[in-house]
């Protein structure tokens, strides 16, 4: 069977061999955890505890504020040390709870009441997903229950589980698929139930034959669920690309997957939904890959949310002499870190320690007009033109050729032989254009 895909894209070196054979390990809770009140897209959560309060694992410590928001639960037993601005892996500080873990109270744990997945109603699923603080594990951290509550007039006909993991290095989703396939399928069925959909698809890139094999076997007798093999190509896991590959439909600029009848959930999200419903566990653990040539012992880890990156790196044997860059997320869209006190958050998918060899930068030269960025752009934009217009401060022109459509996947900059930092220019241009549009709206 030939694998489905989209037009454009690139195929960077995968580096998945560093961790794909390693089963998940649990990282023990560390002394101090930092819980940013905003680990999701939307409004930051409102703290329910104050300095000096005792908290236990799984306890609700901050509640959702409004529709697009998510609650936060403590990932350890301990005492609230402070509430204030702390560094985050997003690159700027945010209001956070700092919790000092206590040593001898590991057996205390707060859970919600387990629910029966066979008799649960769609509303109960949504409610549980909301109260468990589940956010999209794919990176964007969109509150999951919002995705499970489409407006009444939207008809959803397919739920797609994103098992592409198209970012190099990351093997978290792969390991979850082969270690916890039953929970994944159970989570998918809960999502389908919540949305009243009877078609479920698990889309997996064809560089993960083991996951495809295991899940295909598991869904053999499941009604309406199928596993689809997708071509290994970055950014196959981008929502628009995945929907195109699976359904053939294109999500228009500025629209959502649900506008073409699809809802996408990441592998980790589906498993978190299963855990929340069946075991009553709120989301306090992040599954992530620690990899890169600059980390001594690459691993796949379950990490209590709020653990500083420093502790994660220490647990993996520390960094090598030639490490030059530490990235949270994947190497194509992740964020370079300046302070290792930044905590692992709910949607953190990886911590990468990269060496000079991996991130080698060549000298930037003028654009050669080769058209490789145009050919590679999965959204059919003209990256070189967008960057040029930004350089010339011609923001209206950049807007006219779709700068706001760009999802910053990095495909163009990866492929550019002139080594132009296209994504940086486009990001800048996008900001200027959005600002311009805001001002226009005010007038």
């Amino acid at each position: 069977m030939s694998s489905k895909t989209f037009r454009g894209g690139v195929h960077p070196k995968e580096y998945k061999e560093l961790t794909e054979h390693l089963a998940f390990e649990f990282l023990p809770a560390t002394d101090e955890i930092i819980l940013p009140l905003s680990q999701h897209l939307g409004k930051e959560a409102k703290p329910l505890v104050k300095k000096g309060d005792e908290v236990i694992l799984g306890q609700l410590v901050a509640q959702a504020d409004g529709f697009i928001s998510a609650p936060i639960h403590s990932s350890v037993n301990g005492k609230v040390l402070s509430i204030g601005k702390e560094v985050t892996p997003l690159g700027f500080p945010k209001d956070s709870l700092v919790i000092k873990a206590s040593e001898n109270s590991v057996d205390k744990k707060f859970t919600l009441a387990p629910l029966n997945p066979d008799t649960i109603t769609p509303d109960e699923i949504r409610q549980r997903v909301a109260e468990a603080g589940i956010v999209g594990q794919g990176g964007a951290a969109f509150p999951t229950y919002v995705k499970l509550s489409p407006p009444k007039d939207k008809v959803i006909d397919v739920v797609i589980i994103n098992g592409c993991e198209c970012e190099p290095y990351l093997t978290r989703d792969y390991r979850l698929m082969i270690e916890r396939p039953d929970e994944l399928i159970s989570g998918l069925k809960l999502i389908m139930k919540a949305l009243g959909v009877n078609r479920g698809v698990i889309g997996i890139e064809d560089n993960k034959p083991e996951a495809i094999k295991i899940l295909s076997h598991k869904v053999e007798y499941e009604d309406g669920i199928e596993v689809i093999s997708l071509k290994t190509k970055y950014p196959q896991g981008a929502e628009k690309m995945l929907i195109k590959a699976v359904t053939g439909k294109e999500v228009p600029p500025g629209k959502l997957p649900m506008d073409v009848g699809a809802v996408i959930q990441n592998v980790g999200t589906a498993i978190a939904i299963h855990d929340a419903v069946v075991k009553g566990e709120p989301l306090t653990i992040a599954a992530l890959t620690v990899s890169g040539l600059g980390i001594r012992n690459p691993k796949n880890l379950y990490v209590p949310v709020g653990t500083p990156i420093q502790n994660v790196i220490d647990y993996c044997g520390g960094i090598t002499e030639d490490a030059v860059k530490i990235v949270v997320g994947g190497p194509m869209m992740g964020i370079a870190q300046y302070d290792l006190q930044a905590p692992v958050m709910k949607a953190t998918s990886g911590v990468l320690v990269l060496t000079k060899k991996e991130v080698a930068e060549n000298e930037e030269t003028p654009c050669l007009r080769c058209g490789q960025c145009v050919d590679a752009c999965p959204l059919n934009l003209m990256p070189t033109r967008l960057a040029r217009y930004t350089q010339l401060k011609r923001y209206e022109d950049a807007e006219g050729i779709g700068i706001t459509v760009c999802m910053e996947c990095g495909t163009c900059a990866f492929t550019c032989p002139a080594n132009i930092p296209l994504v940086q220019w486009i990001r800048l241009g996008k900001q200027k254009v959005l600002q311009m549009q805001k001002e226009r709206a005010v007038k």
């Binding site: 690139v10 070196k13 939207k154 008809v155 190099p168 628009k240 439909k249 294109e250 228009p252 600029p253 629209k255 506008d259 073409v260 420093q310 520390g318 960094i319 030059v324 860059k325 997320g329 190497p331 194509m332 869209m333 992740g334 964020i335 370079a336 870190q337 300046y338 302070d339 990468l352 990269l354 991130v359 080698a360 930068e361 060549n362 000298e363 030269t365 003028p366 654009c367 050669l368 007009r369 080769c370 058209g371 490789q372 145009v374 999965p378 959204l379 003209m382 070189t384 779709g402 459509v405 996947c409 495909t411 900059a413 990866f414 492929t415 550019c416 032989p417 002139a418 080594n419 994504v423």
Partner: protein
């Protein structure tokens, strides 16, 4: 590159690179691309030396040296960074030399290189900014300045009798003598240094397509254009007009399709634009070959289409993903 210090363990200081995503790169660079194209010309260089004698190497050396020297001199005068080793000026010189007839005057070759780099490239601001293919600008200058020399063709060492002295295109145009396709493929026929052997040209071209430097749409659209436009004339009167296969294998068509029209800077950046560009070259070329005074017109047809590249780019902007799809209610 922004850096910051961070104490990891006591006494251990680490400088982190904070550049933003993407953190990986294909590891291609301008220089690497240029040297790959130079490398892809090795079969053509070999065919030139085999069929026209080892002393042709001097034409190539002079062309390369003067191209690189001119570039460095102009960059020094303009107080720009001197890019002696990025391989792009060397490539222009090498390409120019391979479009010249065997035993061409070395002094004229030098002039051609100076013009190619000076007027073809640096005057526009250097690499990436020129409108016309620099090597072809140099050759067009030589064609105008040395019209006799540049159309004086030496017989190849292993020449087939039918075309003694003349190029296959000239032999057909003026004497209706058809050269065997086998000879055109091997290259033991009259012509410019690097263009006579279709096999050598294709070897280099396929290599460039395989490594992703040449976008296959340009050579393919040119070949298809030749079948369409050349084929139309051939069907009308096969006695008067040669077959499209001959049109493709004879002269500089393949060399132009693989190495000249595909020059990144002077060809369109959109895939659709590349099709228009390639078809356009073939159309102009057929008109020159059939109705023009010259037997060959690859150089002029590519230069002509170079001028249209900005407008082609403008009107072939790809449809943004999802722009035409319908939103479900």
């Amino acid at each position: 590159m922004e850096t910051t210090t961070k104490t990891l363990e006591p006494k251990q200081k680490v400088y982190f690179d904070l550049t933003t995503s993407p953190h990986l790169h294909s590891q291609w660079s301008t220089a690497k691309v240029m040297w790959f194209v130079n490398l892809a010309l090795v079969p053509c260089i070999a065919s030139a030396l085999i069929f026209f004698g080892w002393q042709q190497v001097f034409i190539m050396l002079v062309a390369v040296l003067f191209a690189v020297g001119t570039e460095a001199a102009i960059q020094a005068i303009r107080k720009k960074k001197v890019t002696l080793f990025d391989g792009s000026a060397a490539l222009t010189g090498l390409l120019l030399s391979l479009t010249l007839p065997p035993n061409f005057s070395l002094s004229a070759t030098a002039i051609g290189s100076v013009v190619a780099i000076g007027l073809g490239k640096q005057i526009f601001g250097g690499i990436g900014y020129n409108i016309f293919n620099p090597a072809l600008v140099g050759r067009a200058f030589l064609q105008a300045a040395f019209p006799v020399q540049i159309t004086t063709w030496t017989k190849p060492n292993y020449a087939v009798d039918a075309v003694s002295g003349a190029t296959p295109l000239a032999a057909f145009k003026f004497d209706k003598l058809l050269t065997e396709t086998t000879s055109l493929a091997i290259g033991n026929v009259g012509g410019s240094l690097g263009e006579t052997s279709a096999i050598a040209v294709l070897l280099g071209g396929i290599f460039l397509i395989a490594v992703g430097i040449v976008n296959w749409r340009i050579p393919l659209s040119m070949i298809m254009g030749m079948f369409v436009f050349g084929g139309a004339f051939w069907i009308i009167n096969p006695q008067q007009y040669p077959s499209p296969v001959f049109q493709i294998f004879a002269g500089s068509f393949l060399f132009g399709a693989m190495f000249m029209a595909t020059d990144w800077v002077t060809s369109p950046i959109t895939n659709k634009g590349m099709w228009i560009f390639g078809l356009g070259i073939s159309l102009v070329l057929i008109l020159i070959r059939i109705f023009g005074g010259l037997p060959e017109g690859v150089m002029y047809s590519i230069l002509f289409m170079n001028a249209f590249v900005p407008i082609i780019n403008r009107y072939t902007r790809p449809q943004i993903f999802g722009q035409l799809s319908e939103v479900k209610k």
